[in-house]
C-alpha cells in the first residue's frame, strides 16, 4: 500500500523532471550510448550550454 504511493510519487517526480528538462542530459547520454556507443559525449555543462544556444536561435517565445 505504502509502496504504491512511492511508485506514484516517483512517477510524478520523473514526469516533472522530463517536463522541465531537468533530466535532458541523462536522456542525451542514454540516447548516445544506445545509438552511437563509444563516441565522445558532451559534458553536462557543455550539453546545457549547447542546448540553450539551439533553443534560443529560433522563435521559442511568443507574444
Amino acid at each position: 500500500m505504502i509502496l504504491d504511493h512511492f511508485i506514484w510519487a516517483r512517477n510524478v517526480w520523473r514526469w516533472l523532471r522530463t517536463a522541465t528538462g531537468d533530466d535532458a542530459y541523462e536522456r542525451y547520454v542514454e540516447h548516445r550510448s544506445k545509438k552511437h556507443p563509444g563516441e565522445p559525449l558532451l559534458t553536462r555543462a557543455g550539453f546545457y550550454e549547447d542546448s540553450q544556444r539551439r533553443k534560443w536561435s529560433g522563435v521559442s517565445r511568443c507574444c
Binding site: 514526469w15 516533472l16 523532471r17 522530463t18 517536463a19 522541465t20 528538462g21 531537468d22 535532458a24 542530459y25 536522456r27 542525451y28 542514454e30 540516447h31 548516445r32 545509438k35 559534458t43 553536462r44 555543462a45 550539453f47 546545457y48 550550454e49 549547447d50 542546448s51 540553450q52 544556444r53 539551439r54 533553443k55 534560443w56 536561435s57 529560433g58 522563435v59 521559442s60 517565445r61 511568443c62 507574444c63
Partner: protein, 681 residues
C-alpha cells in the same frame, strides 16, 4: 456512444451558460458563466471540429513517423510524450498579449471581447496553430517562411520574413511601454522588476557553472528569490531614502529598458535569457493555474456593462469602432500570427506522433484563449469608473484627479477621488490614475481576485506580485524577440555583405542587435513622450500587424490544402483568412484615411502640425510635437506597407491555387515521404 453523450451534455451546459450571459444584459452576470461557456465551447470545438479537421483535412496518420522519430538525435529532434509537448508548446505561445489585449478591449464592454475570444479561437486561432503545426511536422519541422517559399514562391517567403521582423519590433516596443508604465513612479514595482535581473543572472550561473542543467533546483531557488524581491520591494517602498532611489519618471525607465534589451541580446543566452525564461515559465504556469482556481472560488460579478457607448468609436483607451477594432485589440487571445512561428519551430521537432497534433496545436491555443478570458474577467470585475480612471491617459481626461473623475463620471461611470486614493493605498501605490498600458489595471483585478480568495490583507503584495509576473515574462519576450529579430536581420544583411550574416561574428552581433534595439527603442520612446499614453497608438498597430501575420500563415495553409487536392475542405482556413483580411484591411484603411484625429494617423499628424504652426500648443506639448507628428506619419506608412504585403501574399496564394485547380504546373509539395513509425502501432 459514451463520448457522444458527453458531447451532448457539454453542448447543453455551454448553451445554458451562453443563454445566461445573453439574458443578463442589464444586470450583473457572474464570471463563472463566462468561464463555463468558454470551456464548453473549447471542449466541443476540440472534440468535434478539431477531430474532423485532423481526420479529413489534415489526414493525420498515427502510423507515419514524425521528424522527431526519423531524425532523433537526442537534442533538438526528440520524440516526446504528448502532454510534455503540450506543456512546452503552451509555455512557448502564452505571452503577455492575451493579458493586455482583452484588458484594453474591455472598453467596449465585456461581451464583444468575450465572444471574439471564444469564437475566434475555436474557428480561427486553434485551427491555424494546429494546421501549421501539422504542415510543418510533415515537412521536417520547416519554418513558416520556408514553407511559404517552397509552396507559394520566393515572394511569399520574403513577405513572411519582413512581416515577422516588423511585427517583432512593434511588439517589443508596445510591451516595453507596458512595463515602463507599470514601473513609472512606483518604487515598489521598479525595485522588484530590477531585482529580477540579478536573480536571473544568479540562476544562470547556478545552471551553467555550479549545478549544470539542474533546472528544477535552480528554478525553485529563483522563484523563491523573486518572491522575496516582491516582499522586499514593500520594505524599500516604506523607507524614504530607498523609495526616492527607485522613483523614476517614464523616460529614464524607457532608457533602462532599452539598454537592458541591448545587453540581453548580446550576452550569452545561459547568463540572462535562459534562466529568466525558466523563472517566467514557472511563474506563468503557476499564476495562470492559481488565477483559474481563484476565479472559480471567488466567482465574481462582472461590473462592466455588456456593451458600452464606446462601441461607436469614442473610447478613451483607443479610438475606433467595435468593428473592426475589438478584433484587432484582442489579437493573440483569439488568433495570433506569431503562434505560427512557434508551431513551425521547436514543437514539430519533438512531436512523437501525428496523433498528438490536435492536442498540442488546437488544445494549447484553446487554453491560451482561456487565459484571455481570465484577463477580460479581471478587467471587467472592477468598477467601470475605476477601470477607466486607471486606463485613460492624462491627455484625455485631464492631469489632475479632480478633472479625471469628473470626466469619467460624466461618461456614466461614477468614480471618486477618495475611491481611487483608497484603492491606491490598498495596492501600495501612490496613485492609480492614468496608469495606461493594461498591466496596472490587470494587476488590480488579479489582486482583487487573489485577495478575496487567499487573504485580503495582502492586497499590496498581490498587486506587486502581479506586476512582477507580467514584467518578468514581458522582459523574456523582449529579450527573446530582440534576439530573433537580430537573427532575421543578419539573415537579410548577409545577402548584402556576407560577414554580417554570420551569427557568430561578434561585431555583426553588436551592430545588428543595436539596430533592432534602436528600432523598437524609437517606438518605445515616442510612446513614452506621448501625452495620451502611447498604447492607444502602438497596440492597434501591433494588433493589425499580428493579425496580418496570421493571414499570411493562413494563406500558406490554404495554398497547401488546395494543392494537396482538398479544395473542398479549404474553407477551414479560407474562412478565417477572409475574416482576418477583412478586419485588418478595414482597420488599416481607417487608420490611414479617417479624419478622426484619435483614429487616423495622417489626420492626427496634420492636426498636430496645424496646432503647432498656429502656436496654440503649450510649451511642453510643442516641444515633443515634431517627434509625434513624424511618428504618426511613420506609423501610417508602416500600416500601408503591412497592407500591401498581406494582399500580395493573398494574391500569390490565389495565383498558385488557381493554377493548380486549372491543372497547370505548380511547385511540388515539400512534404517528406511516408515512413512507417516504429513508436506507435
Amino acid at each position: 456512444m459514451l463520448k457522444n453523450i458527453g458531447g451532448v451534455l457539454l453542448a447543453a451546459v455551454g448553451a445554458i451558460a451562453l443563454t445566461i450571459i445573453a439574458l443578463h444584459r442589464h444586470e450583473p452576470v457572474n464570471a463563472l458563466w463566462i468561464v463555463t461557456a468558454a470551456v464548453c465551447v473549447y471542449l466541443l470545438g476540440y472534440r468535434f471540429y478539431a477531430a474532423w479537421i485532423a481526420a479529413r483535412v489534415l489526414s493525420v496518420d498515427a502510423s507515419r513517423a514524425t521528424p522527431a522519430e526519423r531524425h532523433d538525435n537526442g537534442r533538438d529532434f526528440v520524440p516526446t510524450h504528448r502532454w510534455i509537448v503540450f506543456g512546452h508548446h503552451f509555455a512557448a505561445i502564452a505571452g503577455p498579449g492575451p493579458l493586455v489585449g482583452p484588458t484594453l478591449a474591455a472598453q467596449f464592454g465585456y461581451l464583444p471581447g468575450t465572444l471574439w475570444i471564444i469564437v475566434g479561437a475555436v474557428l480561427g486561432g486553434c485551427v491555424q496553430d494546429m494546421t501549421i503545426l501539422m504542415l510543418s511536422t510533415r515537412r521536417d519541422g520547416r519554418s513558416l517562411g520556408q514553407m511559404a517559399r517552397d509552396e507559394l514562391g520566393p515572394f511569399g517567403g520574403f513577405a513572411a520574413l519582413i512581416g515577422t521582423l516588423l511585427i517583432m519590433i512593434i511588439l517589443i516596443a508596445v510591451l516595453g511601454l507596458v512595463v515602463v508604465n507599470a514601473m513609472k513612479h512606483s518604487p515598489w514595482a521598479t525595485s522588484t522588476v530590477f531585482a529580477t535581473v540579478p536573480v536571473a543572472i544568479l540562476v544562470g550561473f547556478y545552471l551553467r557553472r555550479w549545478r549544470p542543467g539542474r533546472v528544477l533546483e535552480a528554478s525553485v531557488l529563483g522563484v523563491a528569490l523573486v518572491l522575496f524581491a516582491v516582499v522586499s520591494g514593500g520594505w524599500i517602498d516604506g523607507n524614504p531614502t530607498l523609495r526616492a532611489a527607485f522613483d523614476f519618471p517614464a523616460i529614464p525607465l524607457a532608457g533602462f529598458v532599452i539598454v537592458y534589451g541591448w545587453f540581453a541580446a548580446i550576452l550569452p543566452v545561459w547568463l540572462l535569457l535562459a534562466p529568466r525564461d525558466y523563472l517566467s515559465t514557472f511563474l506563468k504556469l503557476g499564476t495562470v493555474a492559481a488565477l483559474a482556481i481563484a476565479i472559480v472560488l471567488m466567482h465574481p460579478q462582472i461590473k462592466m456593462p455588456a456593451i458600452t457607448a464606446f462601441v461607436d468609436g469614442t473610447g478613451p483607451l483607443f479610438g475606433g469602432k467595435v468593428f473592426p477594432f475589438v478584433f484587432i485589440t484582442i489579437a493573440c487571445g483569439a488568433v495570433s500570427g506569431f503562434h505560427a512561428l512557434v508551431s513551425s519551430g521547436t514543437t514539430p521537432k519533438i512531436i512523437a506522433s501525428e496523433g498528438d497534433v490536435r492536442l498540442v496545436g488546437y488544445g494549447s491555443m484553446a487554453l491560451e484563449s482561456l487565459v484571455a478570458i481570465m484577463a477580460i474577467i479581471a478587467a471587467t470585475l472592477l468598477d467601470p469608473g475605476v477601470y477607466f480612471a486607471i486606463n485613460t491617459g492624462a491627455g484625455l481626461v485631464g492631469a489632475t484627479p479632480d478633472a479625471a473623475v469628473q470626466t469619467i463620471s460624466g461618461w456614466g461611470f461614477p468614480v471618486t477621488v477618495e475611491q481611487m486614493q483608497h484603492l491606491a493605498n490598498d495596492m501600495g501605490e501612490r496613485s492609480l490614475f492614468a496608469r495606461t498600458g493594461g498591466a496596472p489595471s490587470l494587476a488590480v483585478g488579479m489582486a482583487s481576485i487573489f485577495g478575496s480568495t487567499f487573504g485580503r490583507g495582502l492586497l499590496s503584495l498581490w498587486y506587486h506580485f502581479a506586476i512582477m509576473f507580467e514584467a518578468v515574462f514581458i522582459l523574456t519576450t523582449l529579450d527573446a524577440g530582440t534576439r530573433v529579430g537580430r537573427f532575421m536581420l543578419q539573415d537579410l544583411l548577409g545577402h548584402i555583405w556576407k560577414p554580417l550574416g554570420r551569427t557568430s561574428w561578434y561585431p555583426s552581433v553588436l551592430i545588428t542587435s543595436a539596430l533592432i534595439v534602436a528600432g523598437w527603442g524609437y517606438f518605445l520612446y515616442i510612446g513614452v513622450i506621448d501625452p495620451n499614453g502611447g498604447v492607444n497608438i502602438l497596440w492597434p498597430l501591433f494588433g493589425i500587424a499580428n493579425q496580418m501575420l496570421a493571414a499570411i500563415a493562413l494563406c500558406v495553409a490554404t495554398g497547401i490544402i488546395i494543392k494537396s487536392g482538398k479544395a473542398r475542405y479549404a474553407f477551414v482556413t479560407l474562412v478565417p483568412l477572409a475574416w482576418l483580411a477583412l478586419i485588418t484591411s478595414t482597420a488599416a484603411w481607417q487608420k490611414l484615411t479617417s479624419s478622426d484625429v484619435r483614429l487616423g494617423f495622417f489626420a492626427a499628424a496634420n492636426d498636430l502640425a496645424a496646432k503647432l504652426a498656429s502656436g496654440v500648443l503649450p510649451a511642453d506639448k510643442a516641444a515633443v510635437a515634431p517627434q509625434l507628428i513624424l511618428n504618426q506619419r511613420l506609423d501610417g506608412w508602416l500600416t500601408m506597407f503591412f497592407l500591401a504585403v498581406v494582399w500580395f501574399v493573398i494574391l500569390d496564394m490565389a495565383r498558385v491555387s488557381i493554377r493548380y485547380l486549372r491543372g497547370l504546373p505548380v511547385s511540388n509539395s515539400s512534404e517528406a515521404p511516408y515512413q512507417v513509425s516504429r513508436l506507435t502501432g
